[in-house]
Amino acid sequence: MTQPPDKLRQLLDAAGVARCLDEIAAAINAHWKDEARIALVGVYRRGVPFARALAERLRARGREVDFGKIDITQYRDDLQTMTIVPKLEGSDLDFDLDEAVVILCDEVIYTARTSRAALEELLDFGRPRCVQFAVLVDRAGRELPFQPDYAGLRVDLPQDERVSVRFTDGDGFDEVFVRPWPTKNA
């Protein structure tokens, strides 16, 4: 896959992404060392390959991991003001959520509006015992009071820039870079 021409600068190369994934997986593993089973739930779109990469690492450590994905479109708070209607991808949580330990996974947290929608949707599927939040990139600029429990990289960027994450799983390569973001709510 070719890289976008409007790329400004790289934040993490493939080795950097791998290091962050290793660290997050190790932290989750340590935190839940007495737990038999945990569930990783990726937020569509790139939260899904992120969650899958973490799940692989946790399974490699001999853990049992459930895996799911959620599409938050039906829970967005800006649907009425959007000029296009997004195609729904659908959510897939094919395990018993009640009493589960769930790590919600998204590639970037910024305003936390997606995180709010993701948590609300997750709780409509059942009643997990505990929910934690993992991100690859924690970008400053919250509009809602959500903080990740696990983050690979913390950044503070000007408003007209956006963080883009690419994963081998789906994109063909692992990278985190910054590019221009003309409108804040695009």
């Binding site: 209607v85 195609k87 729904l88 409509d124």
Partner: protein, 309 residues
């Protein structure tokens, strides 16, 4: 693929293939919600959906109301006195009232074709045609197409035999159109007095079951016999209709032997177009049509935007 919203859904003919695909594809995740403990999403929170039915309906109205509720919209029914003869002007008076109430979606059924279009032109709200005269019933067509898609991986080339009063059926008109748009072959079975005046040449017309079944349909779609039409001249009696065009027990057996699917838009007249045995036929999709109707109507409400265009 994201697409631009439309303001209204008035018929199937004005939809692009891309729009039909969009509504059908999104209906899948909406249907998946029904398996969850909370069957509701906040998609239309704060929006008002109003059902405006000038013709009696229980099923379609309830289906829209359940769909709107599951999208977290506020749902209101506007009661129209069924006895009053409603003229064009008073429909527009009603629309003006609804406009003042700032409703966002109006679901309308009327015995006169074209009334939903008239309302749509005179309101900012999104208008959904829930059946107008003999003209169109687009959400029925979409749910029928969705039901077929669940059964046929590739609908192209699948054969649907539509049986009943095709001339006076908006369901037949819309469903036949969407089936053909999606690549299915359609044939009609009806007495001459119920056959549409103008039928495209690619739709075979049959006058008896033997010939119709020789066409080798994959699905038999029964239309509801409108009992109010039974008294009209040239219309067969209920018994006569049942004998010649109904799904008798013997015909259920033929469907079973050939493994054909069975559909009906409801409500059924037992003993006229279908028998008790037909209702319990294992390859009947009638209950799935009802369930799919909710998912498809959610998908339509999700797509339309008041004030769009």
């Amino acid at each position: 693929m994201s697409i631009t919203p439309r303001k209204d859904l008035l018929d199937i003919a004005s939809l692009t293939n891309e729009e039909i695909e969009f509504v059908l594809a999104n209906a899948v995740p909406f249907k998946d919600l029904f398996k969850r403990s909370v069957k509701k999403v906040p998609t239309l929170k704060g929006q008002t959906v109003l059902t405006l039915f000038y013709e009696p309906s229980t099923r379609t109205r309830s289906s829209f109301e359940v769909a709107a509720n599951r999208l977290s919209a506020d749902v209101t029914h506007f009661d129209i006195e069924s006895s009053s003869v409603v003229k064009g002007e008073s429909v527009l008076d009603t629309v003006e009232t609804l406009e003042s109430m700032r409703v966002d979606y109006i679901v309308v059924r009327h015995k006169q074709a074209g009334i939903p279009n008239l309302i749509a032109k005179n309101t900012r709200a999104s208008v959904i045609n829930a059946g107008d005269g003999w003209h169109a019933h687009p959400t029925q067509a979409l749910l029928d197409a969705f039901t077929m898609r669940e059964k046929f991986k590739d609908m192209r080339g699948a054969r649907a035999l539509i049986v009943g009063d095709l001339q006076h059926s908006r369901v037949a008109r819309s469903t036949s159109l969407i089936f053909r748009r999606l690549g299915m072959n359609v044939a009609y079975l009806a007495p001459g007095s119920m056959m549409p005046r103008e039928t495209p040449p690619e739709i075979p017309q049959f006058g008896n079951w033997t010939d119709a079944l020789d066409w080798k349909p994959d699905v038999v779609y029964l239309l509801r016999v409108q009992s109010e039409r039974m008294d009209e001249p040239f219309f067969p009696s209920a018994a006569e209709y049942h004998k010649n065009y109904g799904l008798t027990d013997a015909r259920v057996q033929i469907l079973r032997e050939r493994g054909l699917w069975l559909m009906h838009p409801g409500p059924v007249n037992r003993g006229v177009e279908i028998t008790d045995l037909g209702m319990s036929y294992e390859k009947s999709l009638i209950n799935q049509q009802v369930e799919n109707g909710i998912a498809v109507r959610m998908s339509v409400l999700y797509w339309l935007k008041p004030g769009a265009q």
